[in-house]
Every structure is written in structure tokens, then in C-alpha cells.
Symmetry: none
DNA sequence: GCACTATACTGGTATATACAACAAATATCT
DNA sequence: AGATATTTGTTGTATATACCAGTATAGTGC
């Protein structure tokens, strides 16, 4: 299970970019330099760079170099923002309680979305608090073969979606918004009064055309809403 | 300006796929076969295939082959579609009942969104049926100075959003999705059972940066949901 | 007929090499 | 000093080669 060399290089470069050690517009080492740094051939270094260009992190200019690309403006429609950033942007405090971590064989519905019948799936249930008020219950299933170390993460330090976006950058997402009446257990976790509905968001995220994760997000309807802004 | 060989190969294969000469699930020629067909090296043929895999047209299975991938379901991104088209697309019947038409001075909330304190506002309330089941209650406020003839329209023939899009083409939209418990009157119109929540969509539409209309759309939660598909 | 083995084929990784097109820096000439 | 030519560095394309790890098929032995 040794990681291919081009992936090692790609991971290393991606880390430099997402950790902001290399900033937007910076020129990264040339393909030849990368190949020397990692004791690989130019073709291998090139393959790593190609992958990151496809992910949208880098941008090439022939005869000049490869540069860190500006992040997508991407405020737009029903954006995929992680709950922590959202809460911090409102100037509030974010707290997390991990309710469960499991490795399991997916049920049909989850397996269908992750198109992974033969593989394991990881499941986590996490409760998010905004200023000590429960704001989101996150029930997340992750394709274990693509993110093998998912369960080892400490989600109190980095949210699950932050981690996923790091190891398998988001390329595509499907969302569904429903209104439901909460089950008793859900009502308990979200500390809901009687007769308060929930917003249920089902979100499937893809990385390079592969479904990585499906999550069910439950919000108290009296404290949360989804917005989008669409330019035509 | 000669096209690189790998692009020629990729274009050729892509054409086979989109023209349905090669169908979903079909195995395409192996990399070696492609290289022989196009008098190229395997690496070049491989690069063509890699590109098409990245585009999502093909799918690889190590030791087995490369296959034509199932096309993406492709609902579009939280599109602003009008309810009639939506229902007709599902192959169902659409019926409309206009509950009220008014001309009034806007309350603060509506006026703020339409940024029209000094002008009149038109209001319509319309109930939409899908196969004789109430599916949407539309409460719409329109900036009267921009759409003076709004109230004269027959909304059973053309929906309000169709008409608006014709006289003031949509350039921008803001949406908000919430879950609410219906009021008694709403529950009655939507023919809801007890304890069924509603999806409330608040949508403000703009034409050339001017807010034209704000509408509140109420849906029975057990019969409706909002989806979006986001490509990054 | 059945089980096992060998072979051929597939995509995945990795390298070495070569040349083209272009840009920027450097050196050279006038 | 200024214009021109050369060199160097960069990405882009293309090939030949090698080996690995799987799968599928054909062949072999029983």
C-alpha cells in the first residue's frame, strides 16, 4: 500500500498551498526542480503538477512557470461552506461534540450514493454548537477506500469537511433541502421545543468525479436557514 | 497550430461516446489498441484516455479495461425554474387558482427588499396544483412601477414568473430556504395533515440590478424538496 | 470433468530521452 | 548606450522502455 511517488509530490505541494506557505500568485518550483527535490524524474513531477492543475490549485504558463492559483470566488449558490467558518464569521463560538465514530458496511441508500458496494464506509455523528446552542447534527458517511485515515482525525480541531477537502479536494456537490419533523432522538440532540421542524440537508460531495462523502445535516428550523445568491 | 496527437485521439474517442456509437458500459479499446490505431505510443494514447476520465466520460478498471461511464444525472444548480415547467417536466398536470390580487402600500419588510418606499406594490396569492394536489402557495409582491400591467394578467395561462421574466428578464436572484410550521390558513390551502412542516422559499428576483419581485413560496414538506448541483 | 498452472492482456507507475515553442536573461556587436 | 544575437530556463508534446499487480483465458495434468 505504498503511495505512488507522484501522489507524494502532489500531496506535498498541495499542503504548501492550502497551508498558505505558498501564496496566491507565487511561482512554485519548476518541474525539473521538483524532480530533483523528490529524486524523481521530470515526468513524475510533472504528473503531480498536472493533478494539482486539474484540482484547480495551480495554474501553468508555458515557458514561464507554474503558479498558485487564486481560489474560486465561489460565494455563489448554496455554497458549500463548513459550519465552523460559518459560525466564526458570525463572530460566534463554535464547539463540537463527537457522538460516534464507526466503521460499517453501508446500507443500500448510502452505498448507492457513494457507489461503493464492496467497500467499507466510515460513519461519524457530530453535534455542532454555536455559542453553546446546538445548531447542526452532522451524520456523515465517507468512502473508506478513498479516505482511509478518516476515523483517526480529531474533529474537534478540524471539521470533517475541512479534513475531507484537504485530502480529497471538492470538485462537485449535490444538495437536497427538505423540511422534516425531527425524531425524538434528533429533537433531543438539537434541544428542540415541541412542534419545531428541522431543515434536513443531504449533501453528496465529489472529488474528481468520485463520490467521497454523503452527509445528512439537521438544523433547528427556528435557528437556521439556507440562502443562495444567483447571478445569471 | 497543429493539434497535439493526444487531443486528436481524445476528440475521436469523445465523439464516439457523445454520438452514442459507444454506449454506457461499453469497453473502449485498450491503451495499446488505441496507440496502434492512431500510430502513437501507448503513453500518448494513455494521456488521451486520462483526459476523458478527468472529464467524466470514461471510467477505468485496472486489469480489466476502460469503459464508457454513465452520464451525470445533471439537475442544474438551484435553478430558478417556474413551477409549471417543473410539474410538466415530471409529466404531471398543472392547475392554478388565483386566490387574490391586490394593489397596496408595502409593509416594511417587502418595501425594504423591493427598495421602493414611495411606490405602489402589487400582491398576488396563487395556489398551484400538481395532479390536483396542492403543491405550492405563491405569495408574490411586485414593484408596480416596473411592471405596471402585472395585475391585468391571466395567471392561469401564463405563470407570474413567466410573465415577469418576459417583461423584465431575470438577471439575478436571491433565495432563502427555511422550514416552518404552517399557519392554519396555510395548512388549509396546502391541505396538510397535522404535524407536517413546510418549506418556505423566499426569492427576490432582479432585472438589471433592480429588485422586481419578492415572493414567498410555501411547499408541503412531504411532497417537495429543493435540490442543487454544484460544479466547482 | 475438474483443478491447477501458465500465459497474455489490462491499466498503474516510473524513468530516460528528445525536441518544440516561447520567454527572459545574458552576452555580443555596432 | 542601444540594438541584436545567443543562451538558458520553462512548459508542452511524444516516444520507448520497464516493471508491477491484478484479471481473464488458454492450456495442462490429473
Amino acid at each position: 500500500m505504498t503511495k505512488p511517488k507522484y501522489k507524494i509530490i502532489a500531496d506535498h505541494v498541495r499542503d504548501k498551498v492550502v497551508s498558505k506557505q505558498w501564496l496566491e500568485g507565487d511561482r512554485i518550483p519548476s518541474e525539473t526542480e521538483l524532480s530533483e527535490l523528490f529524486l524523481a524524474s521530470r515526468m513524475t513531477a510533472r504528473k503531480a503538477v498536472e493533478q494539482l492543475v486539474a484540482e484547480g490549485l495551480l495554474e501553468r504558463s508555458p515557458s514561464i512557470g507554474t503558479f498558485v492559483k487564486a481560489p474560486k470566488a465561489q460565494s455563489s449558490l448554496l455554497e458549500i461552506k463548513n459550519i465552523r467558518d460559518e459560525i466564526l464569521e458570525r463572530g460566534h463560538e463554535h464547539k463540537v461534540v463527537v457522538l460516534s465514530k464507526n466503521s460499517l458496511v453501508p446500507n443500500d441508500k448510502v452505498a448507492l450514493e457513494l457507489s461503493s458496494w464492496d467497500v467499507k464506509v466510515y460513519k461519524v455523528v457530530i453535534l455542532h454548537f454555536e455559542n453553546n446552542t446546538p445548531i447542526q447534527l452532522e451524520e456523515r458517511y465517507v468512502n473508506a477506500s478513498f479516505v482511509p485515515e478518516f476515523l483517526d482525525q480529531d474533529f474537534t480541531k478540524k471539521t470533517s469537511s475541512e479534513y475531507l477537502n484537504k485530502v480529497a479536494p471538492l470538485s462537485e456537490a449535490k444538495m437536497m433541502v427538505e423540511a422534516i419533523m425531527p425524531s425524538k432522538i434528533l429533537s433531543h440532540h438539537l434541544n428542540l421545543n415541541e412542534n419545531v421542524p428541522c431543515l434536513k440537508i443531504t449533501r453528496t460531495t465529489f472529488s474528481s468525479h468520485t463520490p467521497i462523502s454523503i452527509c445528512y445535516l439537521y438544523y433547528p428550523a427556528d435557528k437556521y436557514r439556507v440562502t443562495s445568491h444567483l447571478l445569471i
